[in-house]
């Protein structure tokens, strides 16, 4: 394949005391692809995202992003390198407005220090206005104009998830990590988010690593799929290949509490 690799994970090992969250996970993300990572609860999906974000430090393994070793970086440096994410349990700034949440996402692009911010003259002011405009573009993109000044904590769950997606987009990432973006959503909300995810990939050209617990959305929209179970990669390939894979079927069917 002639496509460029954006992220390359090799042989990641992560354990918490005796609990092994990841044992030898590896995968690659091609530039521009929508890559899904699925698996039953506790399979290690969130752990993979936390390792990429620099929140967890794996005991062994290699992780390269655009030719750069990610394992040396702190979470804020990972963000500055161009990786943004959403969280499985919403982690918005509850007391801020939607707009301010998005503006925090603009943080790395706003070039102003304490003096420029405090004096709010010239450059500091121009920067704020310019980035306010960029935040409005994201508001338009996600169709949340009506709530731009609302306090995030007062919004319904589905909209909060959407704002969190917007906050990650505001960072203008090269790679977007989404941790169960449709969990707890109804069919209509799920379709909305699926549409946004496809738009992000196609219109904005952002590479996406989509962690999902549920197979349906994944099968519909992703280019490739990696399947984890008990911290190990059990399958990888196109959605069709994965759906036929015996180990995957067993992992999903073999887990009694997955019935729901």
């Amino acid at each position: 394949m002639g496509e460029q690799t954006l992220l390359e994970a090799e042989d990641l090992h992560l354990h918490f005391g005796g609990v092994s969250a990841l044992s030898g996970v590896g995968f690659t993300l091609a530039q521009g692809e929508l890559h899904a990572m699925i698996g039953p609860n506790g399979a290690g999906k969130t752990s993979v995202l936390n390792v990429i974000s620099g929140i967890y430090r794996p005991q062994a393994g290699r992780l390269r992003f655009a030719g750069r070793n990610l394992l040396d970086l702190k979470p804020y440096q990972v963000a500055q390198a161009g990786i943004a994410r959403s969280f499985q349990n919403i982690e918005l700034f509850q007391h801020m407005s939607v707009l301010d949440n998005l503006l925090v996402g603009r943080h790395r692009w706003i070039k102003a220090g304490v003096l420029a911010c405090g004096l709010f003259l010239g450059r500091g002011r121009r920067q704020e206005i310019a980035h306010r405009r960029r935040a409005e573009e994201i508001i338009d993109f996600l169709e949340i104009e009506h709530i731009r000044h609302a306090r995030v904590g007062n919004l319904p769950y589905g909209l909060q998830k959407r704002v969190e997606l917007g906050r990650a987009l505001a960072l203008e990432p090269k790679l977007l990590l989404l941790d169960e973006p449709v969990a707890g959503m109804n069919v209509e909300e799920t379709e909305d988010i699926a549409r946004f995810i496809l738009d992000i990939k196609e219109e904005l050209g952002i590479t996406i690593l989509l962690v999902e617990h549920d197979m349906r959305l994944v099968m519909d929209i992703s280019d490739r799929v990696t399947v984890l179970d008990f911290g190990k990669k059990i399958a990888a390939g196109t959605p069709q290949e994965v759906a036929r894979n015996q180990a995957v079927i067993e992992a999903y069917l073999g887990e009694p509490h997955e019935a729901a």
């Binding site: 974000s53 929140i55 702190k74 979470p75 804020y76 990972v78 963000a79 500055q80 943004a84 994410r85 969280f87 982690e91 918005l92 700034f93 509850q94 007391h95 801020m96 301010d100 503006l103 925090v104 996402g105 943080h107 790395r108 706003i110 102003a112 220090g113 304490v114 911010c117 405090g118 004096l119 709010f120 500091g124 002011r125 920067q127 704020e128 206005i129 306010r132 405009r133 409005e136 906050r167 960072l171």
Partner: protein
């Protein structure tokens, strides 16, 4: 007056957005400039101390309220500012326009050091670490006799403007006002732009903040530096006004007063800091007035005044925490909302 609509982001980001807001501000400024001229020296001195408290409280609120870093070391920063002014004025005769910022800078430097534990500690533990740092700083200025004259204290001359020292309280009021207004506007701008958003982000969800590219180390330390700078400037003005400095001006009781200002005014709000600072500074004077009135009937009251004062602070903190955790700023918001939607009922 309904909702204000804006035709540009620049307009929407202006500090005073409507003509109403600007008009109110103009009236307030006119009162601020005019009324003091009618006040007696006693009320003026209270007002001047309130001005110092406004700067100090805003600084503390940026750290505790906006950034969520609990500090009990603020009064030590105020002391650093006060001693810097006293020492440099005595030894080198430097002018106020150098000494006030320099006092802020010295305090900021110490704030940077005191802020280092915040990189590892949170909440109660950080409060204890900053308190311990404050005790160390206090020990230094209380015992370094050759530099600070220890418990004897030092005399400080009032700042001079155009060759004349600002001896009257009224003159000092007008001298101090621009510093207070400048400090307020600077803080207000900080909180509504990049730095302030980063601080609130750290306070609300530090993991999210980090994954959005905010360097926690940097912004926490910046919060300590800015907060201590405000403390240092407040301390400088304080000793300039008192014309003296000694360890007894920077007690732990003063720290409690500052905490009370935040709680009464509104944690995390600039305007709230102002409300709180004015309220807590005026409170003992109001109490004194009441006890003076009652003195003939209950002579024991005026004698006990000092004890009453501390007790009342404690009581007020508890009452606000229980019944009005958003402080006076919460009332202000209620009034503002009512006014903005008047005459329509708002749900």
């Amino acid at each position: 007056m309904g909702r204000t609509f804006h035709s540009s982001y620049a307009e929407e980001m202006a500090l005073f957005q409507s003509d109403w807001a600007r008009a109110w501000m103009a009236i307030f400024l006119a009162l601020l400039l005019g009324v003091p001229a009618l006040l007696g020296p006693y009320l003026l001195s209270v007002l001047n101390l309130a001005g110092v408290a406004v700067i100090g409280a805003i600084g503390l609120n940026l750290l505790i309220g906006t950034t969520g870093q609990i500090s009990l070391g603020h009064v030590a920063f105020i002391a650093c500012g006060g001693y810097t002014t006293a020492i440099l004025a005595e030894r080198f005769g430097l002018p106020f326009w150098l000494l006030i910022p320099a006092s802020g800078c010295v305090a900021a430097l110490i704030g940077l050091v005191v802020g280092v534990p915040s990189l590892r500690l949170e909440g109660f533990y950080l409060a204890m670490a900053t308190l311990a740092a404050a005790f160390i700083i206090e020990y230094v200025y209380a015992h370094w006799e050759s530099l600070t004259a220890g418990t004897t204290g030092m005399k400080v001359a009032r700042p001079t403007l155009a060759g004349a020292p600002l001896e009257s309280s009224l003159a000092f009021f007008y001298f101090q006002l621009p510093w207070v207004i400048g400090a307020t506007l600077f803080a207000k701008n900080l909180t509504r732009t990049k730095v302030g958003r980063a601080w609130v982000a750290i306070r609300d969800r530090d993991i999210s903040a980090e994954t959005l590219g905010i360097d926690l180390t940097h912004y926490k330390l910046v919060a300590f530096i800015v907060s201590a700078f405000y403390g240092g400037v407040a301390g400088s003005l304080y000793v300039y006004y008192l014309k003296t400095v000694s360890p007894e001006h920077f007690t732990f009781a003063l720290m409690i007063e500052y905490i009370a200002m935040l709680i009464v005014g509104g944690v995390g709000s600039i305007l709230g800091s102002i409300f709180g600072a004015v309220f807590i500074t005026l409170l003992p004077e109001a109490l004194r007035l009441v006890t003076d009135l009652l003195r003939d009937d209950y002579p024991v009251l005026s004698f006990r005044f000092l004890y009453v004062k501390q007790g009342i602070y404690g009581l007020i903190i508890i009452l606000f925490l229980l019944f009005k955790p958003d402080g006076c700023f919460g009332w202000w918001q209620d009034v503002k909302r009512y006014w903005q939607t008047w005459p329509y009922k708002h749900s």
